[in-house]
């Protein structure tokens, strides 16, 4: 089993990582917020902590920043032990969800704050503030107050303020969630550009899977205080290793199935009477018996009813979405009784049409019924 897929066991060491988390855990008055986590973040890497609220991603971020003290485990930044180091000595830049710009200071004073605490000479401070403003394209805004700026501009100031101190790690705590959609996409592109240009090690916390997929070098999917899977965006999207990850990242069609036989990665399944043979990508396969079969909507396609090797279903509803239509299907074999397929809008079948769902020979995965992994 590769270390990529075993996030809860310590991996082997090689070059000095920008951030190394060794068995760090945290509880709040008896409630476990974060189970022991092992994680290494390479220099210059953009790593995303993705998960629903309460999954422990923000706790982990606060532990890296030093706002929280770990119950157990050690934390290293650039190979230096920082577990006991207070936040103001960690040399970390942070952009918060609400930006937390100091309302009683101008944009320039906000950006200069981290330089003044470091006693950087006045002339150099002025230069670096100007550079930082240019970096985020806010020249001419130096004298404004935060409340005179739009959400996008406030975010740029927050970014400039965090970057001007040349942090060892940049932490982003859901920085896009307060922006509207168009601006959000523009800011994502801009941030990603700045990040790769400066080669900044970045830890990004979000619950938005599309943000995670579009920006990250690697994604750590978290739930209930654990890292469920860690890997590149294609790893996570195309090869999810658990029911939770399949469902949380992207759309998932889940079927109830019986695993008859497995030879290597090849599995024989019975899905509501339909017999299927699939080549799975998984590291670990469940034992023969009741399992959950997972496939992405775009891996499947709709056929005429009664085609051999297809799962029978009936069209319940077609939802027009412009370039395509979402076809919701009643399917006896589906885990929730429903699955969803996308088809070109012109080809959307009528409600009540009986159809078949054809699965590809490789791509889908099977999970234990409990939906848990490891």
């Amino acid at each position: 089993m590769s270390s990529e897929n075993a996030p809860n066991t310590p991996p082997k060491t090689c070059e000095v990582p920008a951030v190394q988390i060794d068995g760090v855990s945290k509880s709040f008055s008896g409630t476990v917020a974060l189970e022991p986590v092992w994680l290494k973040i390479r220099k210059g890497e953009f790593l995303t902590l993705l998960g629903p609220s309460g999954c422990g991603k923000t706790t982990l971020l606060n532990l890296i920043a030093g706002f929280l003290e770990a119950d157990k485990g050690e934390l290293f930044i650039n190979g230096e032990l920082v577990t006991q180091v207070p936040p103001h000595q960690r040399e970390i830049g942070i952009v918060f969800q609400n930006y937390a710009l100091f309302p009683h200071m101008t944009v320039a004073q906000n950006i200069a704050y981290g330089l003044r605490t470091r006693r950087v000479p006045k002339v150099e401070t002025a230069d670096r503030v100007r550079e930082a403003l240019a970096l985020v394209k806010l020249e001419g805004f130096a004298g404004r107050r935060p409340r005179q700026l739009s959400g996008g501009q406030q975010q740029r100031v927050a970014l400039a303020r965090a970057l001007v101190i040349r942090p060892r790690v940049l932490l982003l705590d859901e920085p896009f969630s307060a922006l509207d959609r168009n601006l959000r996409t523009a800011m994502q592109v801009e941030l990603k550009e700045i990040q790769s240009r400066l080669g900044l090690t970045t830890v990004f916390v979000t619950h938005d899977q599309s943000e995670a997929l579009s920006m990250s070098d690697r994604i750590a999917v978290m739930s209930r205080g654990r890292i469920r899977q860690i890997g590149t965006p294609p790893d996570i999207y195309d090869r999810p290793q658990s029911h939770f990850v399949s469902n949380f990242v992207g759309d998932a069609n889940m079927f109830q199935a019986t695993l008859k036989e497995k030879t290597g990665t090849l599995v024989q399944l019975d899905v509501g009477g339909t017999r299927l043979t699939l080549d799975t990508y998984q590291d670990e396969l469940p034992e023969p018996g009741q399992v959950t079969l997972f496939a992405r909507p775009e891996q499947c396609h709709l056929t005429k009813a009664g085609q051999p090797g297809t799962i029978p279903a009936t069209v319940a509803l077609s939802v027009y979405q412009g370039s395509y239509a979402e076809v919701h299907l009643d399917c006896l074999a589906a885990e929730t009784g429903r699955v969803m397929q996308r088809v070109p809008a012109s080809e959307a079948p009528e409600e009540g049409t009986a159809v078949g769902i054809a699965l590809p020979a490789s791509g889908p995965a099977i999970y234990d019924l409990q939906g848990s992994f490891s």
Binding site: A65, N98, A100
Partner: protein, 269 residues
């Protein structure tokens, strides 16, 4: 759409009721304001002839001058001390978890339950037993005890509304805890602190019951001086004092409003 006659009745009766209530609230001051210009030496209403002489009398009467100076001193020193102590306690209550937190909170709030005269009497007995002089500091001590709960509450509320992300952002930018306090926390809490201090000063300035127990001729506050005056004379001088009094508080509030915007200070924004 045309309104039904009944709606008009409701509409107008509502307005009239509102006017009456507001009028009722303002009534005491209006009566006193008019009475202060009464030329007659008896507090009669309504006045038959008009004069400013009672205002002149206020400034000529030694006890009022002395009382005003005492009251301002006591309010100033008392509010400052209460603010320092209260802000400290509020910070501790807001930021730390400890065993006797509810006990501390209870002790701090207890002056709200204990009547002012009890506090005054208590300190009077204590100072007599310890043979402390009945100086202005004794009055200040009584006032600090009385206004402390209000200051603690006021600062506590602003701390509760305070966004700790500001402090975290500053810390991440390399600011030591002291620097965070001086450059972020205190400046942002200033409206709350001003409101607490202002509230304390006005309460102290108005305080009468407890002061009565602990003042002497030399240290008497303006309200006590007014009480002593009314026991001897029944002329409209007191009405004039009242008007001056209200005007002074209004001016202070106006200045604070100019400096900090009152909505922010009083936490009503």
């Amino acid at each position: 759409m045309k309104k039904a006659p009944f709606d008009h009745v409701l509409d107008w009766s509502g307005r009239i009721l509102l006017t009456l209530i507001l009028g009722f609230v303002m009534l005491p001051f209006v009566v006193v304001f008019i009475a202060s210009f009464n030329d007659s030496a008896i507090l009669s209403f309504p006045p038959k002839s008009w004069s400013f002489r009672w205002y002149a009398n206020v400034f000529e009467y030694r006890d009022f001058r002395k009382g005003l100076v005492n009251s301002l001193k006591i309010a100033g020193i008392g509010a400052t001390l209460a603010l320092l102590a209260g802000a400290g306690f509020a910070y501790v209550l807001n930021r730390y978890e400890f065993k006797f937190k509810s006990v501390l909170n209870g002790v701090l709030m207890s002056p709200l339950v204990i009547p002012n005269f009890t506090i005054g009497l208590g300190l009077l007995i204590l100072s007599a037993a310890a043979s402390l002089p009945r100086s202005i500091w004794l009055v200040v001590a009584v006032h600090v005890i009385i206004v402390l709960p209000f200051v603690v509450r006021s600062v506590y509320v602003s701390l509760q509304n305070f966004e700790t992300r500001y402090e975290q952002a500053a810390e991440s930018l390399g600011a030591t805890p002291t620097r965070v306090l001086m450059t972020i926390t205190l400046p942002l809490l200033l409206p709350g602190l001003v409101s607490g201090g202002l509230f304390a000063a006005i309460l102290s300035f108005n305080e009468f019951t407890a002061s009565l127990f602990v003042v002497n001729q030399r240290t008497q506050t303006l309200p006590v001086a007014m009480y002593n005056y009314v026991r001897e004379y029944a002329d409209p001088t007191l009405a004039a004092v009242s008007v001056i009094y209200v005007a002074m508080v209004a001016v202070i509030l106006l200045i604070v409003h100019k400096l900090f915007r009152l909505e922010k200070v009083l936490n009503v924004e």
